[in-house]
């Protein structure tokens, strides 16, 4: 199975070729190289998946990266069921997004640059999921963050895009700081950063404490929470969710690949990968579950009132990621990853569908200005509808099985589990509502945009609709590998994950499971029904509600004022410190003082020293003879001493 090591490096090769030769040689043929690289990775990933499904695993080092004392880091690969599923998710979505981008980015001046970044991102993400040690994970982690920054700010001429890129990067710093500390702490207490060593020694760490600010903190909880910090940043959970909606400034294929299907799920992957550690700390698990549930409710409520199609889907992503954390938090790591896997298909589909709509609407994002697109772009409509049904949790589709698995596991997860189950069910209803709000506002009714836009409406080229169709197949069928036993399925995926992620003890009966399922279906139906009532049957209803509950609407419309809050307590004080203390004092007085002072000191010294060079031949002669005199005297003295 050594060929698995090739998987990350093929996109890297594509990146190198494109970045070196793309500008002058490949130009608008850059996609050929990129797609070839990703396609090869995809094929290898499928092969790996088949082998892993047959029971094979691999954990081997490619080469030694850093070796310093007891600190050893190698570039190594760990292929197990978790990695295999992540490989499939990453390479499939990446491949489809690459193909879709041929149409979407056609004619863009930075075409080769876009494909270079996509390849680099794919490489980084694959390194992240295949690594067998924490540092390689960290490398991939930071590299995907970097690519995300590149791609959000891809249209760097646009101020808002450049700002969004910076915001994503800086907000992620907060989380990554904790993650970095976590890695260091792991090395400190375990003495190794190889997964196998860490998991082998977690048992012995149990009950140990670590002194922190004068308090003795439970070691495992501390490590888990520090690692979770990174996950919170990368996966846009409360309170570091603010970057994700802004990241929609990037090109839509990027939103689909990075900010929906793959990179943002890295946090979930991290928690799942470290499940042996998290499982040992009830505190950490509770934190994970509550953070997930809170984010999922919080983001879903914001999504209810937004009008920007990409932002709605972005908040939906936040909310669904909350779902995955919630699952991890109640111990159902397998269910979380299962949802990650199905979510990748329907969320990528939603984004690519939105991109297709934007393509037709000449960049228009406001769903209030759309309407009636159904007859102009049928493929987009039907695939978008399938994705919405899937995310809403309509039985038979992918989203239903994964969501139901999570709800069922939460229901069985004790006291906290019950609370998050209630929250998750409410969120399921909200999800159905806002998903169908898009459908009804954008695709049904009559067109509300300008006449010019209406004239321009058209279905996207097949290079864009084919990936939509393929993803739609995934959105429908991806969940069939996890049909629960209560519905007569084998829940194959849960057994597949069992060696790595374990299987939580379930004591509920089938009857209870049917009840949980029924409630979630009811919630979804209620959400869809309400959406249809609001936006199809009585279109003036939302307006009336808005006026009646003006305060609530204002809060939701402004996303709970989180951005304003951060601006007031973090951004402005930081800027004040930067401009007043750092620029005004440190930089102007201290740094520039040193930078200018040292050379001027040397210069003045040199000016004085320069006088030594009189230019008089005799002066040089005198100095020369004097030096000779001294040297010979030393030789004499040394000579007499040895005799």
């Amino acid at each position: 199975m050594k060929y698995a090591m090739l998987i990350p490096f093929l996109p890297l090769a594509a990146f190198l070729i494109n970045i070196l030769f793309g500008r002058f040689l490949l130009k608008d043929r850059a996609h050929i190289v990129a797609i070839a690289g990703v396609f090869a990775s995809f094929v290898l990933s499928v092969a790996v998946f088949i082998q892993v499904a047959g029971g094979a695993t691999m954990n081997s080092d490619l080469y030694s990266w850093i070796s310093s004392g007891g600190f050893r880091v190698s570039v190594g690969f760990l292929i197990d069921p978790l990695t295999a599923v992540m490989l499939i998710v990453v390479t499939t979505v990446s491949l489809l997004v690459h193909i879709y981008s041929i149409g979407y980015m056609h004619g863009d001046p930075g075409y080769y640059r876009f494909f270079s970044y996509l390849s680099l991102f794919t490489f980084s993400m694959l390194m992240l999921v295949t690594g067998n040690n924490l540092l390689q994970l960290y490398f991939g982690w930071e590299a995907v963050g970097l690519c995300s920054y590149f791609l959000i700010g891809y249209w760097y001429q646009k101020q808002s895009a450049a700002d969004a890129g910076k915001k994503a990067f800086i907000v992620n710093r907060f989380g990554d700081f904790g993650f970095g500390l976590g890695v260091i702490l792991v090395f400190l207490v375990v003495g190794s950063i190889q997964y196998s060593d860490i998991f082998a020694s977690v048992g012995s760490l149990q009950g140990k404490t670590f002194p922190l600010f004068g308090y003795e903190v439970d070691l495992i909880t501390l490590i888990a929470l520090l690692l979770f910090c990174g996950a919170v940043g990368k996966s846009a959970q409360l309170p570091l969710h603010v970057w994700l909606p802004d990241a929609m400034e990037g090109p839509t294929p990027v939103s689909a690949l990075i900010h929906a299907a793959t990179m943002v799920t890295a946090g979930v992957f991290l928690v799942a990968r470290f499940n042996p550690l998290f499982s040992l700390s009830p505190t950490a698990m509770a934190v994970v579950a509550i953070t997930g549930a809170a984010t999922s409710l919080f983001a879903a409520t914001i999504a209810l009132v937004q009008n920007d199609i990409k932002r709605i889907i972005a908040y939906s992503t936040c909310s669904q990621l909350g779902y995955m954390f919630l699952a991890c938090g109640v111990g159902a790591f397998g269910a979380g990853i299962f949802h990650l896997y199905t979510h990748a298909f329907f969320k990528a589909l939603l984004f690519l569908g939105a991109g297709s709509v934007m393509h037709a609407m000449a960049g228009e994002l406001d769903i209030q200005k759309m309407g009636g697109l159904k007859k102009h772009m049928p493929v987009t409509y039907w695939t978008f509808l399938l994705a919405s049904l899937s995310i809403a949790g309509i039985p038979g589709l992918a989203g239903f099985f994964s969501k139901d698995e999570i709800l069922w596991m939460a229901y069985n997860g004790g006291m906290i589990g019950k609370i998050v189950w209630v929250v998750a069910t409410i969120v399921a209803g909200l999800t159905a509502f806002y998903s169908f709000r898009i459908i009804f506002l954008a695709f049904h009714g009559s067109f509300r945009g300008t006449h010019e836009q209406e004239h321009h409406l058209h279905e996207s080229p097949s290079v864009m609709t084919v990936p939509l169709a393929i993803l739609a197949v995934g959105a429908v069928g991806a969940g069939w590998i996890g049909i629960p036993q209560a519905l007569g399925g084998g829940n194959w995926i849960a057994h597949f994950f069992e060696p790595v992620l374990g299987h939580p003890h379930v004591h509920g009966t089938h009857a209870e499971e049917y009840m949980v399922m029924g409630i979630s279906i009811l919630a979804a139906a209620l959400g869809i029904g309400t959406a249809s009532y609001f936006y199809v049957m009585s279109p003036d209803m939302p307006k009336r509600l808005t006026e009646r509950y003006k305060q609530i609407h204002t809060v939701l419309w402004n996303k709970y004022f989180v951005d304003e809050l951060y601006d007031a307590i973090i951004v402005r004080p930081t800027k004040w410190v930067a401009s007043t203390i750092l620029v005004g004092f440190t930089d102007a007085k201290i740094i520039e003082g040193i930078v200018n002072g040292v050379p001027s000191l040397i210069q003045s010294f040199g000016m004085k020293l320069r006088k030594l060079q009189t230019g008089y031949l005799q002066h040089y002669g005198i100095v020369l003879i004097f030096g000779l005199f001294v040297l010979i005297s030393i030789a004499f003295i040394a000579g007499t001493k040895t005799h």
Binding site: Q613, Y616, G621
Partner: protein, 101 residues
């Protein structure tokens, strides 16, 4: 009673020091060149002295080479002085100080 070798060596040393002094203090470049010739002569005396007292002709061979180099050096040095005088209209060493800092 033969003359001790050290006396000759001392004589060479004194002449060398005089030549060196001349080189260091005189402003006139002709005299500086002559001072160099003095120093070389002092060395020649030393070499021949060694040759005589150590019964070895190598000292004299060295002297021949030193004289060769001295002649070459005098020719080149005088040519330089001529060129210098043509360009700067002076042969005073301390009036040529373009290299001062």
């Amino acid at each position: 009673m033969p003359i001790p070798m050290e006396w000759y060596l001392g004589l060479g040393g004194v002449i060398f020091a005089v030549g060196m002094f001349g080189f260091l203090v005189r402003r006139n470049m002709f005299v500086m060149l002559l001072s160099i010739e003095l120093m070389l002569n002092a060395v020649n005396i030393t070499m021949v002295t060694f040759s005589h007292y150590l019964n070895d002709l190598r000292g004299q061979i060295f002297t021949i080479f030193i004289m060769t180099v001295a002649a070459a050096e005098a020719a080149i040095g005088l040519a330089i002085i001529v060129t210098l005088f043509r360009n700067k209209a002076t042969i005073q060493a301390d009036e040529i100080k373009e290299m001062n800092g």
